[in-house]
Amino acid sequence: MRSAPFRFFIVRAGTTAAATVLLPCLLAAVPAVGSDIAPDVAGRTCVLLFMAGAGYSSGVADLADLRALGEQECAGALARNGAEPLTAGSSQALQRRWRIRDGRQFPPAFLADLDSAGANRLLLVHLYLGSERLELSGRLIDAGTGLTSAAATKVCPLGGAAWRIDFAIACRRLVATLAASDRTRTNAPVAPLSVHPLGFAAATAQIATQCLIEAALADSACAVLDPAILGGVLVADGVDPRRLDQPGLALLAGAFGAPSVIVIEMITRDPDQSLPSAIDDDGPASGTAAWETISPFSLHLRVVDTGTGLVSAAYGVDQDNTPARGWFGIIGSGTPRRLIAAAMHRLWDDSLRPGKVR
């Protein structure tokens, strides 16, 4: 009779072999956007992939393996979409040199180094690993201008032994979606800072920041500066993005020509919320609050004029976490991302309407 570890090895080896055979076939089935486009030799794209909200029990045994697979798949998908990816070795060397650990802020020196390495674009991907599903949030950033040209999110299930195949397909679909929605926007740029959480884990705030960018990009005319680039510039100059004073505003106005800055706070409405204060900080994600659940919350947006330092408009929305009852009494499940995205779109739409306060 075989021992349990031996049986596990056989099962795992079988799964890996099946994945090796099936993966190319399945990936070929996913449509690639512009797959016949020649690689853009003028500038490469640096793939940065980070785990966010990881550390939960799931079918994925090795997070490093998952990350490596994701980087490989995203780079391959980029190449198929006509963009030349920076080699994994160069990308990792840059990350190590400038201590880029979570992709929440990019210092200007890192961007300059990226330019000298021949890359002018970033593909930033965050993986949110849950117990039954995995979410991939990605955005394409122009490292020279700081503008986000596309942002998208894909979800894939984590059940079963074939998670590698599901994950690879999700990576490829994410890159294809980003490539399809990638276009130049000519209007004056809006400058949203990363969402500041109160009572939420950093991973949840990061999801909210992604939803903010997606909502802003849904307005087709808007050119959107990336919060990670803005945050990096501020921190490099010694300015706390959460306490943006006049020199900080002048810095953003000078560096990016932004007429105003958008500041958003996400505050829990759960009266029993008793998270430690470190959760509020932009530090590493903590395992104490899962990104898969969310308490009711409020989003507050304010538009700050970079010239005067005055608040020119303010808006707020409330969002419950109770399941919504739809047609025929069907209860729709709301994942945290869906709830945050819905609230963020409402907030953004409100901010586009004439008038000052809602």
Partner: protein, 189 residues
């Protein structure tokens, strides 16, 4: 209709009106103050005396939005205000002294500073259910001398006459907060 029945109906209607009315805002406005000289103001982080840890953080953006809606004053960004408070060593749980108000006014180029204290925030039993409640005090000080020129204490809850009669949930905490802040600011502008 007999006169007695008419009196009864009038009495019942009066009771109903009273039940629907909120308590008035208790406020003080300095009689000699001229609000015309106040163009630019700042809102310092509110103090929290309630059991809810984030009550002050939730109420402050509501106050800011309502203050902007009045279109009476220009408001310095709370981020810059917070940075100035940090530089002056002004903590979130201490009321600023007149000297600190003057210093804040100079640092932010503001003629008035708003402060606030959340005294009660959360839910209270009312009848057969729970209603959201808020009790808060707001103040405005001018930055030449640091003296207080306006103070208002307001208490609102999510119940209403129609909710009491026909049932239904309490108004949300967000709506209760907006109503309380609006009522308080009406005593100023």
């Amino acid at each position: 209709m007999t006169p007695r029945l008419g009196i009864r109906i009038a009495f019942a209607a009066g009771l109903a009106l009273l039940a629907g009315c909120a308590a008035p805002t208790t406020h003080f406005l300095h009689p000699d103050v001229d609000l015309g000289f106040v163009k630019r103001c700042a809102v310092v982080p509110f103090r929290n005396l309630s059991a809810d840890r984030f009550a002050a953080a939730r109420l402050q953006p509501v106050f800011l939005a309502e203050l902007l809606q009045s279109e009476a004053l220009q408001v310095v960004d709370p981020g810059a205000t917070q940075a100035a408070c940090n530089r002056l060593g002004l903590g979130p749980d201490t009321a600023p002294t007149p000297e600190q108000i003057v210093a804040l006014g100079e640092a932010l180029d503001a003629q008035a500073i708003f402060t606030g204290t959340v005294e009660e925030y959360g839910q209270r039993r009312s009848g057969g259910g729970q209603v959201n409640v808020l009790t808060a005090t707001f103040s405005m000080s001018e930055t030449e001398t640091g003296s207080m020129v306006w103070n208002a204490q307001v208490s609102r809850d999510g119940s209403s006459f129609w909710r009491k009669i026909f049932g239904g949930d309490s108004a949300s905490q967000f709506d209760v907060s907006r109503r309380a802040v609006r009522d308080a600011l009406e005593s100023l502008f």
